[in-house]
Symmetry: C2
Subunit: 261 residues, 2 copies
């Protein structure tokens, strides 16, 4: 199946029918993909403020009403509890399960935050002839914890998580300018070239996702990653949280070019 | 005094000493200016969500801790209750006073929202040789209520307020591109040319600020205005709110060029 050129509603239907349970990188090219954090209402203000203070790592695309599984802006006919390929549940900071459906787990006090994902700009990179290695290799994007501090808000604090794409030396500037134009899905890279400078010890062992090949003429380029808010939420060990599984994103009906500034 | 080329901390000192009580347009060129809305904690989540859903009209630059008059990001040595030239107090939706200082009015439950102001991009327009009429004429910028609807959030809903600058026909494109590059202080215009199309009946009677001359070779250009959140808050008639007086902004220590995306 050519998921890259299908419409979001078609791919979401296949997801809801259980026919897609894989990472969504490369699907529905041109449409924004989003990270999910659904947490209890009591934490929603602190978390929304955290996203406001850290817009590069946490560019919020939509916030649901409490208890609602509907996203009027991003995908009005969707159900956020059913249309993501894989969910994670965390209880008191511990992952207690991965699920293909989360409808039976939903609670009336959950507020859902949809946060921009760098998968959204990968087709812009491909259009610009910048290779995207994890798509070429059929793997999930490599993601790493870093030493880059975030601005705290209320109970939330922590460091940035980044995604990495190896870019041929002569295309690094192009990769920066292409992605800088898309701030609602993380925008420009946060670091170029030296993993150790941002606290990454071993590129071969990503903290999330898969490792990918880096050729000798390539530079590792690091973008803020939407797994950041998950990592930050987990530090607080909330009683109950539902997220997407890393790489398994919510595919929205909004084209990247139409995302509100 | 050449306020245009003074540092923010110098101008804020003159404001605190009562030596400046006028609108701040044209002061501290290159530095971001901000609108103030301080409202009770009980309304803070709905209001923060409203700003997230309406980023063009309400680009949040900083949110204080509840009860705090300190803004660690925008101006760490400032007191938000003393360093604005003129404040307004609203009680149950009615303006009950204008004040040069608000320290004696502050409450422990107030959360302060600092929202980007289009004054911030006026020096970029001037640098690009786009005239700014209200600065030329020594007046406050004209601001108008419109029929442009905003996305509701919780108790907050309403229409956009815009600021207007007349731009010579051949410079309109330049005015758009210069301001589009500054989304944290409202960014690109929301409308060009036809006041009636956005519900403005009489350009000679602004709803806030002063009217300015429009020459025959000029087009009225409308930008989202930071008075919008004030207008929206007033519709809800909260028991107690402190804002800046229109045009009398908070001048931050952050250069426009350094505003976080």
């Amino acid at each position: 199946m050519d998921y890259g050129h299908m419409l979001p509603k078609e791919v979401r239907r296949l997801i809801r029918e259980g026919k897609i349970t894989s990472p969504t990188s490369g699907m529905c090219l041109g449409y924004a993909q989003a990270n999910l954090v659904s947490l209890p209402n009591a934490l929603a203000y602190d978390f929304l403020l955290f996203t406001q203070r850290n817009p590069k790592a946490c560019p919020v695309l939509e916030v649901s009403a409490a208890g609602s599984r509907v996203l009027p802006y991003l995908a009005p006919d969707s159900d956020i509890a059913l249309d993501i390929p894989k969910y994670r549940v965390y209880e008191n900071g511990v992952m207690t399960g991965e699920y293909f459906k989360a409808g039976h787990l939903w609670r009336e006090d959950l507020v859902s935050f949809l946060i921009g994902c760098s998968f959204s700009f990968e087709d812009a990179l491909l259009e610009a002839k910048v290779p995207v290695r994890h798509i070429e290799e059929g793997r999930n994007v490599p993601m790493y914890n870093t030493s880059i501090p975030l601005v705290p808000a209320g109970v939330f604090h922590g460091n940035m998580v980044v995604s990495m794409r190896p870019v041929p030396r002569e295309l690094v500037v192009r990769a920066v300018t292409v992605t800088a134009a898309m701030p609602r899905v993380h925008g420009a890279p946060v670091h170029i070239g030296d993993p150790a400078a941002i606290g990454i010890a071993d590129m071969g062992k990503p903290d999330y996702g898969d490792s990918v090949t880096i050729h000798s003429n390539e530079v590792p380029v690091f973008w803020p990653c939407g797994v950041t808010p998950q990592a930050v939420v987990m530090r607080v060990k909330p009683e109950f949280v539902i997220t997407h599984a890393p790489g398994h994103m919510f595919i929205t009906d909004i084209k990247n070019a139409h995302l509100k500034e």
